[in-house]
Structures are given as structure tokens and as C-alpha cells.
């Protein structure tokens, strides 16, 4: 195990030196399943990751150059937007959904809370063009990039071709996001036999595996499916989840099962950020299910937990916080490229 970690860090260190494209796939944790992302169609390389990282932090991507991806996906919040229930956009607008944390995306096969996006590469188009988020259009972004003093060179390095295209822009953003891997929490370290749980955490794990594990499947802590979780409709948003884009009655109120990693950094919770604490979320599942008859099968049998058990469950969930991920400078603002004017 130590050897694997060593290999991982070695790979990270050697990033700057130019690494064989496909060897980067080895950064994926040994205790994770095979990624679903097809790396053959977009092989990772350090130049493209750097380009993607620069784009991710550059407000140039929004219509008035005020909002970047990182505005709602901050590295210090595990790439979510702590303390903001709904995403923000240009002109002080507020969106309709809670910006989720971004990590372990190579294991996801659909994106957005309602799964309206089918591939990581095309996900960025949604916030980029949403009027209440970045409010831009792709052609305009590409013009700005082509006329920028830094991007033509970054694109040339990344794609051996100075052409700034939509395809390259999107693939670079994917590459950076694919490197956002959270697999160094206490939970992971216990799996690697580097640390041990406290009795409380261990009891919490037992309760988790009895009550939550069907949807929040380890080690990514999501089965990446869509479930009806008994939340009452917020009439100020009228968000029907997956139904919004499929228009099929069977899809109403279906929302994506989110990962439970990094919960301390990503509050508030749920698709509309209605709960601010983990305890509130657990209370919803034990006592607050609005309509048991229409909840997904997994929630038909009520979850019963004593107050002490809830505390233990929270203790286990906190072992999923990955501080190394959150403070990993490789993912932070590329100060060396994007100078603050």
C-alpha cells in the first residue's frame, strides 16, 4: 500500500516534467473500481490539465468576466460552495440548485442533480451558458480566449495546435476535473490499514452499512443513481428533478444520489441546499420523509436511529473528510499563470 502511495506522489511530483499520457491513469486509487470515464478519447497529459485548471479559475469564462467555475466550486470547499444554498451567477443572480462538490468525477456517468448532462466533457456548457450562472456563449468565450495573451500558447502546448476550439476547451476542463480525486480521508486510510477507527466511528460505520449503504455505495459513497428521497417540493423553485428534462411522470422528484465524502466542507446539503447540518439530513431520513408512498424503494422501510446512534453515524461520516484533497495545492488557483491584476 505504501508503495502505491509512493507511486501516486511520484506521479504528482513528476507532473511538471511531462509524464507519459496514460500513466496518469495510475493515479486512481487502488481501492476504487474502474473509472467510467473513457480516457482513451481524452488521454490525460500535464499540459492539458494545466490549461483546464487555468480555465477553471478564470472569470473570463463568464459574460462580464466576473464569475469563474471556482466561484461556486471552491477548492477549499471540496469544490462546492460552502454556506450558499443555491449557486450564484453574474449580476448578483441566484440559481436554482446547490453547487455540488467536484471530486471523483471519473466514476460518474451522468451529471447535474437531475442527470441532464450525460458526459463530463459537455457538463461545462450548462453553467457557461445558463443566464443565471455565467451567461456566456461558447463562441464568445472562444473569441476571448483567442485574443488573450496567455491562452493561444496554453492551447498549443496542450493540443499541439494553436486552434482554440470548443472541443479543446471542454476536454481541458474535463482533464483538470478528472484529477480532483478524493481518496485520502480517514476512511481510505483505515482501508489501507494506516489508521484505525474509534469505537464510536466503528459503530457509526455499522449503522451506515445497515441503513445508508444501498445508495451511498462505498468507496465513492454514491451508486450514481437517481432517487426520490421524500423531500417536499419547494414552491419557490418548483424543481421536479429528472422530470424537468425527460418530461416522464416516472422521473418526477428524482435527484442524484450525492457522494458523502467531504461533508464538512460542502454544507448546506440536498439539491436545493435546504439542510445546513448533517444531523438535519439524518433527521429527514428518520422522521421527515414527506411522502413515504412515493419515496424510492430504499426508503420505504423507515430508518430508525436513537439520538446516540445519530451521533455515531455523524462521527463515521466525518471520517470521509479528505483534508489532503482540500488543501492540495495542485488543484488550487494557478497563480503562476493567472496573475491577479
Amino acid at each position: 500500500m505504501k508503495f502505491l502511495l509512493f507511486t501516486i506522489s511520484l506521479l504528482f511530483i513528476s507532473f511538471g516534467l511531462g509524464v507519459n499520457k496514460n500513466s496518469l491513469v495510475e493515479i486512481f486509487p487502488a481501492h476504487f473500481p474502474e473509472p467510467t470515464y473513457d480516457f482513451e478519447k481524452n488521454p490525460l497529459n500535464q499540459e492539458t490539465i494545466t490549461l483546464g485548471r487555468t480555465l477553471f479559475y478564470d472569470p473570463l469564462l463568464s459574460k462580464d468576466n466576473s464569475i469563474s467555475c471556482a466561484s461556486c466550486h471552491s477548492p477549499y470547499n471540496a469544490f462546492a460552495h460552502t454556506d450558499h444554498e443555491l449557486s450564484h451567477g453574474i449580476n448578483d443572480q441566484t440559481g436554482t440548485r446547490n453547487a455540488p462538490g467536484l471530486f471523483n468525477l471519473a466514476w460518474q456517468s451522468s451529471f447535474m442533480w437531475d442527470g441532464a448532462v450525460n458526459h463530463l466533457d459537455v457538463q461545462a456548457l450548462a453553467p457557461l451558458t445558463s443566464q443565471s450562472e455565467m451567461g456566456e456563449d461558447l463562441i464568445s468565450v472562444i473569441n476571448k480566449l483567442q485574443n488573450s495573451p496567455i491562452y493561444p500558447e496554453l492551447f498549443t502546448k496542450a493540443f499541439k495546435d494553436s486552434m482554440v476550439t470548443g472541443e479543446h476547451l471542454l476536454k481541458a476542463l474535463s482533464q483538470f476535473q478528472l484529477t480532483l480525486i478524493s481518496a485520502n480521508s480517514k476512511y481510505d486510510k483505515v482501508l489501507r490499514e494506516e489508521e484505525t477507527y474509534t469505537p464510536q466511528e466503528l459503530n457509526g460505520k455499522r449503522l451506515f452499512e445497515k441503513n445508508c449503504n444501498t445508495c451511498h455505495v462505498q468507496p465513492t459513497f454514491s451508486n450514481h443513481e437517481f432517487k426520490r428521497n421524500g423531500l417536499e417540493l419547494d414552491f419557490t423553485l418548483n424543481d421536479y428533478g429528472k422530470f424537468n428534462h425527460t418530461k416522464l411522470a416516472k422521473d418526477s422528484f428524482l435527484f442524484k444520489v450525492p457522494s458523502l465524502r467531504n461533508l464538512s466542507y460542502t454544507f448546506p446539503y440536498m439539491h436545493d441546499g435546504r439542510f445546513s447540518t448533517i444531523r438535519e439530513v439524518i433527521n429527514h431520513y428518520t422522521d421527515g420523509l414527506n411522502d413515504k408512498t412515493s419515496s424510492s424503494q430504499e426508503l420505504k422501510e423507515p430508518i430508525r436511529l436513537t439520538s446516540d446512534e445519530k451521533t455515531d453515524l455523524v462521527a463515521f461520516l466525518l471520517t470521509l473528510n479528505d483534508e489532503e484533497f482540500v488543501f492540495n495545492k495542485k488543484h488550487h488557483y494557478p497563480l503562476e499563470i493567472l496573475r491577479i491584476n
Binding site: 473513457d38 441532464a116 450525460n118 456548457l125 457557461l128 451558458t129 445558463s130 476550439t165 470548443g166 471542454l170
Partner: protein, 225 residues
């Protein structure tokens, strides 16, 4: 000089084809008259004043046959045809062999729709990709009509949808008559006869209307020799 440039360009675009090629033009009509983008016309058969501002669509998997025998398929799997851009309305056929049937799909197939970002004609920067939900716009038809009860009489059809039950990809298979100059004809009359602009003037998402209208256009495509 110009000639040399032209030669270089053609050499570049069909470097695998060499001299053995022919072309298949695409023409658009309303009332049997050539379609002019951005020009208001009066259609006597439709009894309507019409202006088309944009007509763009994808064709994919172009394959040529002679009888039952496959002659060739185009190397480029997806072509974006834009009625406003002359250079897109002629399909280069990489063979000199005879063919009497052409088959293609109007739109983009589901695999291409679900495998991330693509380049060239499929680059989302071409404006033929939805952003709020994944998927290519197979066909865009925008303009205005006297019967359209909308602001500035505008209509907007962005037709797409790649998955069940809203798959709008439409198959086209047409006979090619003998002759040197072969032209694929896309008349829009049938579309406007069936769309009923008085009630339906905006389709911007996958659904029954998108699939139905795609099929109407696909079925009206023919070839003249």
C-alpha cells in the same frame, strides 16, 4: 496564384480522394424556387409570406450503393450542412464509380451524442448543441412567417433528441437517377404544410414534435439527375 491556392485547398480537403471524386450538391427550395436565406418571399402554395433566417442540419453515415452493392461510405461521419454556407452544400464523393442509391441519417446518432466533446463539424461551438441538457440539435430552422402569432412573427425549430422515446434521428434512403449532375433536393413545403405555424412556432427540446418534424423533412428529400 488564385488557382494554386484553390489547388492547395482542394488537395487539403480531399487528400485521400485524389482526382477520383465526384460531388453531390444539395439544394433547398420552397414553391419549387431556390431558398434564399434572409429573404422574404410570398409562397403561393402555402399562402404565406415566409423568410428563412437559418437552416442548418447534420447528415451522418452517408453510404452509396449500386443496386444492393455498397459502393463507398464517406470518411467524415458527420457533416454540418448550412443552407447559408455554399461550401457545406456539396458532398464530395470519394469515388468515380457509378451509384444509384444514397442512404444517410438526418441528425446525429446516439453514440456520438453520449461520448463527450467532439471536434470539427461536431464541435459545440457550431451552435448545434444544447447546453442545459446533453444532445446535439439535429436540425435548426428559424425565420418568420405571416401566420405566426409571435413577436415579429418569428418561428424557431431546434429539433433533436437521441434517446428513447424521443429519438429524432431520421433515416433517408433515396434513389439517384443516372446523369452527370446529381443534386439532393430538400423542399421545405412539406414541413410548412405540416408544422401549422399558427399553433406550433417554437420547438426547442426533444419530444414528439421534434421527432415528427424531423421525419417530415427526411421524407421530403429526393434526388434529381
Amino acid at each position: 496564384m488564385k488557382r494554386a491556392l484553390f489547388f492547395l485547398i482542394s488537395l487539403h480537403t480531399c487528400f485521400t480522394i485524389h482526382s477520383q471524386s465526384q460531388s453531390l450538391g444539395i439544394e433547398f427550395t420552397i414553391d419549387n424556387k431556390p431558398l434564399e436565406i434572409g429573404k422574404k418571399i410570398y409562397s403561393t402554395s402555402l399562402k404565406d409570406s415566409l423568410q428563412i433566417d437559418a437552416f442548418r442540419f447534420y447528415i451522418s453515415s452517408v453510404t452509396l450503393f449500386n443496386g444492393k452493392e455498397k459502393v463507398c461510405s464517406l470518411e467524415q461521419t458527420h457533416l454540418l450542412i448550412d443552407a447559408e454556407k455554399k461550401e457545406t452544400t456539396s458532398i464530395k464523393i470519394p469515388t468515380e464509380k457509378e451509384f444509384n442509391l444514397i442512404s444517410f441519417q438526418l441528425g446525429v446518432d446516439s453514440i456520438t451524442n453520449s461520448t463527450g466533446a467532439h471536434g470539427g463539424d461536431l464541435d459545440p461551438m457550431n451552435g448545434m448543441y444544447w447546453s442545459w441538457q446533453s444532445g446535439y440539435i439535429n436540425l435548426k430552422l428559424e425565420g418568420s412567417s405571416g401566420v405566426c402569432p409571435t413577436r415579429k412573427n418569428k418561428f424557431k425549430f431546434h429539433l433533436g433528441g437521441y434517446s428513447y422515446p424521443n429519438n429524432s434521428l431520421a433515416a433517408v434512403s433515396i434513389n439517384i437517377p443516372k446523369g452527370k449532375e446529381k443534386v439532393i433536393l430538400i423542399p421545405l413545403d412539406s414541413f410548412f404544410n405540416n408544422a401549422d405555424l399558427t399553433t406550433l412556432h417554437s420547438v426547442m427540446s426533444p419530444g414528439i414534435n421534434a421527432s415528427r418534424l424531423m421525419k417530415i423533412i427526411a421524407d421530403s428529400i429526393s434526388c434529381e439527375g
